[in-house]
């Protein structure tokens, strides 16, 4: 680590991983309810478990992004963080808001709008928190010694994510209008500005891990985020097929959603090409695995599986079925969970000076969690396709169909156990790193990196 204030990132990562594990627990609650074991029904009914599961996902990913920004931005701007104490206040308050929200969901304190269940008073606290974060990162970039494309794209993504949170705070009496603007937040986040964040993180990791020239990597970053917005903005239309909005969205949404995989395909090809192009390999194989894995899994989960049910003619029957859960799980895992874990795998050795990257927990963490997630996606796919055929195409009763597909949720739970095991390995490895130290700045992790030719950015582009 070059700057002492980068170490705050470590605490954001710890908080993020804690919430990830809690998210998985609630996933299991829902999985068991689906095979008839809803013993927790009176304490955690399905709608509470679901709200906690999805909201914890958003919160831990955001915590991860914030940690990543606090790690990357000082290095890119070549100065200490503007106000380290503010970062601490912001971390603790964000966690407090998150915990209050989760407890609130158990007693029915929520807004009841999918993904945006956080009640209004807490919404305002989130906004204040994000403003503090953006100010801190923004001032660091502003007062920095240099402006890099990576830092600017990352900041633009974070800023746009904050702005797009606002339409979700307006309430409407008309369910259609309500839904219309709810997707401004949800869709334009995950298929828009979050991809900027992901692209910037991927770009940073590729510069560090492959040693390919920054100018080349960043040029392609622009192309990819350009493709993202070109397809993703009007791709919002795939949420407007069947909610009471004009019919022309079927055509617009259909065409632009079909283009959406291009950005992810571009991202995957770009990552693989850069990894091959980079002459000397960085010794942190775990970080490289997660980076390339993220690029590939996001293409499969978000790009390919998303496109598989995005055509209006297909979506007519898959809309509102478990097919969506199939796509959602692998998309979020590949695009946003894995890029966060890649950053953690890269940053922890730098922060602590310990080279825990080619050991058993790091390797098993990567492979078990990914195999588990692929198997979970398969279980959701079989359940979802069966549901579509029996309920939507043959017209059988909802509950009768649910009984038919119950067995696939046994498979889902087994796959999820494997996934959980992988995550536990990752967390174990994270724990083994310990806390960041001052000596880490001078440790040989940095030297290894510089000898490998990666991360040498200062002389070339200052």
């Amino acid at each position: 680590m070059r700057f002492k204030t980068q170490r705050i990132a470590c605490w954001f990562f710890a908080a993020a991983l804690l919430l990830l594990m809690l998210q998985i627990v609630y996933g299991f609650v829902m999985g068991f309810a689906r095979i008839g074991l809803d013993v927790l029904h009176d304490v955690i009914p399905f709608n509470a478990a679901r709200a906690v599961h999805t909201n914890l996902l958003v919160v831990w990913l955001l915590l991860g992004f914030m940690g990543n920004a606090y790690f990357i931005v000082p290095e890119e701007a070549d100065r200490e963080l503007w106000w380290p104490a503010l970062a601490w206040v912001q971390l603790i308050s964000f966690l407090v808001v998150g915990v209050i929200a989760v407890i609130g969901y158990h007693v029915g304190w929520w807004e009841g709008r999918k993904f945006l269940e956080i009640p209004r008073p807490l919404d305002y606290l989130v906004v204040v928190n994000i403003l503090a974060f953006l100010a801190n990162v923004g001032m660091t970039i502003w007062q920095g010694k240099r402006y890099t494309t990576t830092a600017i794209v990352l900041y633009f993504g974070l800023l746009a994510a904050a702005l797009l949170y606002l339409p979700g705070m307006i309430t409407f009496d008309n369910q259609t209008v309500d839904s219309f603007y709810r997707w401004w937040v949800v869709h334009l986040w995950v298929e828009g500005v979050w991809e900027l964040i992901m692209g910037a993180l991927l770009c940073y990791l590729l510069i560090k891990l492959t040693g390919v020239d920054r100018e080349v990597v960043e040029k392609w970053l622009y192309v990819i985020v350009g493709l993202t917005f070109l397809s993703g903005i009007l791709g919002t239309g795939h949420h407007y097929y069947y909610i009471g909005t004009p019919r022309y969205w079927l055509m617009i949404g259909g065409i632009f959603s079909a283009l959406e995989p291009l950005a992810f395909l571009g991202m995957a090809m770009y990552a693989l090409a850069m990894a091959r192009k980079g002459g000397r390999r960085h010794p942190n194989t775990a970080a490289l695995n997660w980076t390339l894995g993220s690029a590939i899994m996001s293409f499969v989960g978000a790009g390919f599986l998303g496109m598989a049910h995005t055509l209006p003619q297909v979506n007519m029957y898959t809309h509102g079925t478990l097919v969506t859960a199939m796509h959602g799980h692998m998309a979020f895992w590949g695009a946003y969970a894995m890029i966060n874990l890649a950053m953690i795998a890269y940053a922890m050795p730098v922060l602590t000076g310990r080279k825990l990257w080619d050991n058993v927990p790091a390797t098993y963490g990567f492979w078990l969690s990914n195999i588990g997630m692929i198997a979970m996606t398969g279980a959701f796919a079989v359940a979802g396709i069966t549901q579509v055929n029996l309920e939507r195409r043959l017209g059988l009763d909802f509950l009768a169909v649910q009984r038919e597909i119950e067995v696939h949720f046994v498979g889902l739970l087994l796959a999820a156990s494997l996934f959980l095991l992988g995550i536990l390995f990752f967390v174990w490895n994270f724990w083994s790193f310990g806390l960041p130290t001052d000596e880490a700045a001078a440790s040989d992790v940095r030297r290894v990196e510089e000898e490998a030719g990666a991360g040498v950015v200062r002389p070339a582009t200052a």
Partner: protein, 259 residues
Amino acid sequence: MLSKGQARAFFLGGTAIFTGIFLVLTVDSMSRVPQQTNADQLTPQVKAGKRIWEEKNCMGCHTLFGEGAYYAPELTRVVERRGVPWLRVFLANPQAMFPGQRRMVQYDFTPQQIDDVVAFLAWCGKVDLNGFPAKPPLRDALAAASVPAPGAAGATPPGRPLPEVFVTGSCLGCHRLQGQGGAAGAALGTPALDDVYRRKSRDELVGWIQDPQAIKPGTAMPKLVGVAITAAQVEEIADYLVGLDPAKAAPGSAGQPRL
């Protein structure tokens, strides 16, 4: 080859153009949505129903307009599918209607709240969703391939007025009788009641309606006594059903079976 400056121009230009198009389409959509959704029918009761829908996070299990959590049924056309009396009974005690199956939270709604939720769902059911949810395309093919049950067709005896209890008690949500009801039961194989007198005696019918689970554990038939019907109405229902037997019903004594 593309330079970094050109790549940046592609990103900024593309983003600006497509954001602009998106905003124009948003304005246009917002001008058309009121008509497409019958916004003039958003009565205070419908709005109150929507607030309950959100307060209870119904979307956390159900889907509406296909949006939600896939754990419980799609509700866009539920008023059309089940009928208002059935929904009133169901919302008062959801678990009674689907005994031993996936449970809905018991919300203890007041009758006013139930009416609000039903009004909201009725409004949702009339929104033009561009054809969603589609009629199951293979349902007719399936029906054509299956052999009709003996006696199911043409069993409707003529001309006896249907007591109100069959509607208020929500029987017709699942069962078909005198050419009415049966939508919710069609997929469950719920029998029509026109010829039930052939299979059950009056006492058997009373015992069955009073506690279906005790007689056939796991049946989809809910225990409705105390929920939707009174003990006296059980007798009324049984009397009516056995009275459908042409051999027993005397032409003049409507509803009273000859003993």
